[in-house]
Symmetry: C2
């Protein structure tokens, strides 16, 4: 992906983008903005331990001067227990993700729920796209980050809102074939202030440096050859 070449699929669109406040989604917001999308950001409070990330989502919205809504889905999160992200009785995995440890961070049907709400908002606001920052590193474990899911969801929105949604409505996942390191390379070119992003799943006040997502974050910067501005506790 060439940061200097406009993405023709983005430029004329009115887009509701899911932004958690992490590296991937913050880069996505900048990417869509630079490419001329009319942008609205949406974040979700589903009771995640690392709710601190929402603060960084709000900061992107302020930087880009775009609307931002944080949707309260705490009641939903409470029903989807059993994931380390929402259930304090389940430990957040440390070290490199293995298949098993990454599985502990799966929230059942998460992206379908978040995208369904975002698509509802998009239809209500006559937007013609919803964007999210799924990338290739997510595919092995998170089935709802894979291309087949994105295509099926895009189809579902068209079928489920026939007559109420623009025929050109689509789900944009421009990073779906990129690694996290490639996203950091792109974001670095776009001037994304990565010190204003949050990854750690532990829910502390600084990045722990040990949980799966901290390890993944660190590695992405190292592989990208981009200075990592993050302060890690260990």
């Amino acid at each position: 992906m060439n940061a200097r070449q406009p993405d023709a699929n983005v430029s004329a669109r009115r887009v509701v983008a899911l932004v958690s406040g992490g590296v991937d989604s913050v880069t996505l917001a900048h990417y869509l903005h630079v490419n001329g999308a009319e942008l609205m950001l949406i974040s979700f409070d589903y009771g995640q331990r690392h709710r601190r990330e929402l603060h960084y989502a709000e900061r992107v919205a302020q930087r880009l001067s775009v609307r931002h809504d944080v949707v309260d889905l705490v009641a939903v999160g409470g029903l989807l227990s059993g994931s380390a992200l929402t259930d304090v009785s389940v430990d957040v995995p440390h070290g490199y993700y293995t298949d098993d440890s990454m599985r502990a961070t799966v929230v059942p049907n998460r992206n379908a729920i978040l995208l369904a709400v975002a698509a509802g908002v998009a239809v209500a606001r006559r937007a013609d796209a919803v964007a999210f920052a799924a990338h290739s590193g997510d595919h092995p474990i998170y089935p709802d980050c894979r291309p087949a899911f994105v295509n099926a969801f895009s189809e579902l929105v068209s079928i489920g809102n026939q007559g109420f949604v623009a025929p050109e409505f689509t789900i944009l996942a421009p990073f779906i074939d990129m690694t996290k390191a490639a996203i950091v390379v792109l974001g670095d070119r776009l001037g994304v202030p990565y010190e204003a992003t949050w990854s750690c799943y532990q829910g502390g006040t600084a990045h722990c440096g040990c949980c799966g997502t901290c390890v993944e974050r660190r590695e992405a910067f190292a592989v990208a050859g981009v200075p990592d501005p993050t302060t890690y506790l260990a």
Copy 2:
């Protein structure tokens, strides 16, 4: 549909059923129960004017002695404004539904949102089905009540939760080819106490008798030849 003949697709299943408290969904709960499903009910508070319906959902759960969760989606409802069901600045249509008046009651992407949450709960609880009470009278206007939508959604859940969901997972919509009158005939045979159901969209303390859904309710009992136990204000 023969009420005395067990539905083989239901009997061995562990089902999360969407129950609003209206005629269709209350009949659905009884139908699934009689057919031997292991049943959990889920309702949604999305800020609908006719929140009173939730009381009747709770009563079904008590009658059938099954778990019932009411999920707070008020924040979501607030973002999906423009429908007469959630936006007090939009009038609830009176009289027989026309295409235009029924359109005023469309909540963008509603069933995708509600089914996505229910499917997440189903996956978390290792259930193998989500059921909802879409019927043929809904098809002309509500695209998310049509068979194509149900099939697409069922496929989406399988793709989006691969490895985490039972291969036999499905969306059950046993009434999808039935009229509302046929549902009332079925429910009458099953002994559904229709005085303990709620339809009116106006949000008053008794059925108004004038709004589109009251007219539809009245007509369903009349066509079914089943005594209507409802007290209408007009």
